[in-house]
Amino acid sequence: MAVDGSLERLRREGRIVVVGASLAGLRAAETLREEGFTGTLTMIGDEPYEPYDRPPLSKQVLLGRVPADHTALPRRRAIEAQWRLGVAATGLDLSAKRVALADGTSVEYDRLLIATGVRSRPWPNELEAGLDGVFVLRTRDDATRLRHRLKAGPSRVLVIGAGFTGSEIASVCRERDLPVTVAERGPTPLSGALGSVIGDVAAQLHHQHGVDLRCGVMVTGLEGDGAGRLRRAHFSDGGTVDAEVAVVALGATRNTEWLAGSGLAAGPRGIACDAGCRAFDVRGIVADDVFVAGDVARSPHPLFGYQFLSLEHWGNAVAQAAVAAHNMICRGEERRPHLWTPYFWSAQFGVNIKSVGVPNMADQIIVSQGSLGEHRFTAAYGYQGRVIAAVTFDQAKWLEFHQRQIEQAAPFPPPFTTVDRRAEGMRPVPAGFPDPSVPTHGPQVTVSGHSPTDQRVTFTPA
């Protein structure tokens, strides 16, 4: 009963610290209060803003329909937290149970939740990244800056990387009637996430909407004018394009550097944790008082062979935060696993794209309803004879059915008759994912030289 007593004390007067004041952090805080935590709650965030929503940043905000400062997340309840905004966490002392902050202070905790998320991967050449006109898009401030620049009507925008964010930005540019070039290293847009069969459809959308899409190329350099403004980009195929604005959309890096040396299993791929959101230390042993949620977490998913998945999905942040918060203030047998089925959406070129499951684990794909040529379809992904993912283009209402199929480990290809099954959907084809042993995203970088002074980082096109 001693354990129960201490848990009761924790719930009543304990100290819980949440590092990361975005979607996952906020939802976790709300759940803690909802479930009766009455102790001290400290919310730490490196940005000066209260938690805000990111999906609108690459859509409504860039289109100028919603100002970036109008994206604050709605509060489901009062959380009565002590807010430490605009100050980053810089270190963690697991044995002293203390988080160090950038302003030199520190905060002690009984239980810690890490929800520090990801940041956009910057352009690797620092000098070029510093040119006026080179942007990334992750934060509210990024969106405000980019929006102002798009509003000014640049002669051409270059989007580097045609994943979801890059494609959404290209779509916004066309909607604003701005000339845009998209450079993608893979064979099609979205090929890393959805494979090249679906990527071909995405490419058609780009072309139909007047995007100058260049696939199979890398940007090898950004060139400035005398005044430090972006002027031109050079491609690996020898081509160039003149652009005033370049948006670097090469994916994200997990915010784990502050945990270096803490003893947690934290690295560039996230913080490993169990399905109950408890962090692992570097030895692979669960750290009882440290929990992880959101984009920065890497947790094993039973449906996908217990693979450690790190997901940058809105819904994952919400679901995982709720599980983490619940488990933080519960006894072992009351704890719940995070069994959320991966799910995300995108809006680009007037098409609503949704996906469930883990498409890029798949080897095959079949169009189960609709037609790729009409750009309205549902496609199921298979791996070793079972359904593991599905994607819809403007057919989201069928997605939940496919989610059940994934959850029930249903056979692939789907053997049954459905409405709107077309001839092209009778036979599965290879899904067209890149060879996992070859990196598709992010530039190749090599380091040469021996002494620290003449070591050089070189950007190497494929």
């Binding site: 189960s368 309803q369 609709g370 009409e374 309205r376 549902t378 057919q395 209402k397 069928w398 939940e400 059915f401 059940r404 049954f416 008759t417 459905t418 409405v419 709107d420």
Partner: protein, 412 residues
């Protein structure tokens, strides 16, 4: 597997006033074959999943012959309306209608009717002046939605009376046939006649609006070029406009009538609504759960074997979903038989779900919210004259035939 004999009881008019105990019995076996043929599905999660199952067809042409519930409401000379079609035909027609009716292309179509709806409601209530008793159905719930549909579509006010007549006749096709074979034949003849007159009238209106468009939905449909797909043909427009007319007509009547009946049975809630008119928003949602106008969704067919809740429904079976029963499933809603006007997490089946989810829902919500709030505000001391009231014959679109209400006076 065993079969049950509940459908007959559900369809029996004697049980119309309170079918809920029958639904509770049905829910003991979530998926069951009725002795009369169709498979009945009565529990929330099973209905939810079948409404999203691409192996379930709504196409009238796939229906098993024994599943047909009657000649139906559709004009046999026209193509099926989108509610009786599967994708891709369903999707194309629904998209074309949505382009003229809702966001993103026409986001203000329904909201723009706000003022007119209030005006129609006030006008109808004003006519209660000097009376101590009304029949809510004849005096209010019936004339109200068809007047709204006329305004939405753009039927000129001077034609509204004629239009009401055809609409009422066409809508009677929803009821199962009664009387001698000769009487039934006469009944169907009058319906066919009304269909033809309505179609003739609408064709004329469409042609007129094609030449001189206005700010109404018929003009929008008649002039829409359909973006990247084929615009609606005239026959398609006629069958789908007739559908909008019937669907908007027959369901909102019951929503409003059931609403007043429920409020009069819950005087505390009625009082609460009088002092807090905003309560009407969650209240209408609870009403859609508690007394949904659409109780049954018959006329679906399985295109393949479907295993659900331990039962395999074979390919080609006739499937009847019972959303009104799902709405009272204790596995989904705590205290499902209680009317809780501000019930949280109220994901009811009042408007169906999945790809056939009711497109009229924003309009129906606005109509019911406006009507109930205003009736409650203006009727002094309203009370039920008989409880239960007499019910209409239809089991699927269930509602009182008449709802006499006595009151002491009318507020301004």
């Amino acid at each position: 597997m065993t079969s049950v004999a509940l459908l007959g009881q559900i369809l029996d008019h004697a049980n119309r006033a309170d079918p809920y105990p029958l639904y509770a019995e049905l829910r003991r076996t979530p998926v069951v074959r009725d002795e009369s043929g169709p498979y009945l599905v009565s529990t929330y999660w099973e209905i939810h999943s079948l409404l999203r199952d691409p192996r379930v067809s709504s196409d009238i042409r796939n229906l098993a012959p024994e599943a047909k519930t009657g000649p139906g409401t559709e004009d046999p000379d026209l193509p099926p309306s989108f509610i009786r079609l599967d994708p891709p035909d369903h999707d194309r027609l629904r998209r074309l209608i949505m382009r003229t009716y809702g966001p993103p292309h026409s986001p203000r179509r329904v909201y723009g009717l706000h003022g007119e709806i209030s005006g129609i409601v006030s006008g109808l209530i004003d006519r209660f002046q000097g009376r101590g008793q009304i029949d809510l159905v004849d005096d209010f719930s019936y004339p109200f939605p068809v007047t709204v549909i006329c305004r939405l579509l753009g039927v000129p006010q001077e034609d509204e009376q004629r239009f009401h007549g055809w609409a009422d006749t066409v809508a009677t096709a929803i009821e199962p046939p009664v009387g001698t074979p000769e009487e039934q034949e006469a009944h169907w003849r009058s319906i066919r006649e009304a269909h033809h007159q309505l179609a003739g009238y609408l064709s004329g209106l469409i042609e007129q609006r094609r030449r001189a468009p206005r700010e109404d939905m018929i003009s929008a449909l008649a002039t829409d070029r359909g973006a990247d797909e084929n615009p609606m043909s005239l026959p398609e427009m006629l069958s789908n406009l007739t559908l909008l007319l019937i669907a908007g007509h027959e369901t909102t009547v019951n929503l409003i009538t059931n609403g007043m009946l429920t409020l009069l049975r819950h005087p505390d809630t009625l009082k609460q609504l009088r002092t807090d008119p905003d309560l009407v928003i969650p209240l209408v949602e609870e009403l859609l759960r508690f007394e949904p106008p659409v109780q049954l969704l018959p006329e679906r067919t399985t295109l393949d074997d479907i295993e659900i809740a331990g039962t395999t429904i074979p390919q080609g079976a006739s499937l009847w979903l019972v959303p009104a029963s799902g709405n009272r499933d204790p596995q989904r809603f705590p205290e499902p038989d209680r009317f809780i006007p501000d019930r949280p997490d109220n994901q009811h089946f009042g408007f169906g779900s999945g790809i056939h989810n009711c497109i009229g829902s924003p309009l129906a919500r606005l109509e019911a919210q406006t009507a109930l709030a205003e009736l409650v505000r203006r009727l002094d001391n309203p009370r039920l004259v008989e409880d239960p009231p007499p019910y209409r014959h239809n089991a699927a679109l269930r509602g009182p035939q008449h709802l006499p209400i006595a009151f002491d006076g009318l507020s301004r």
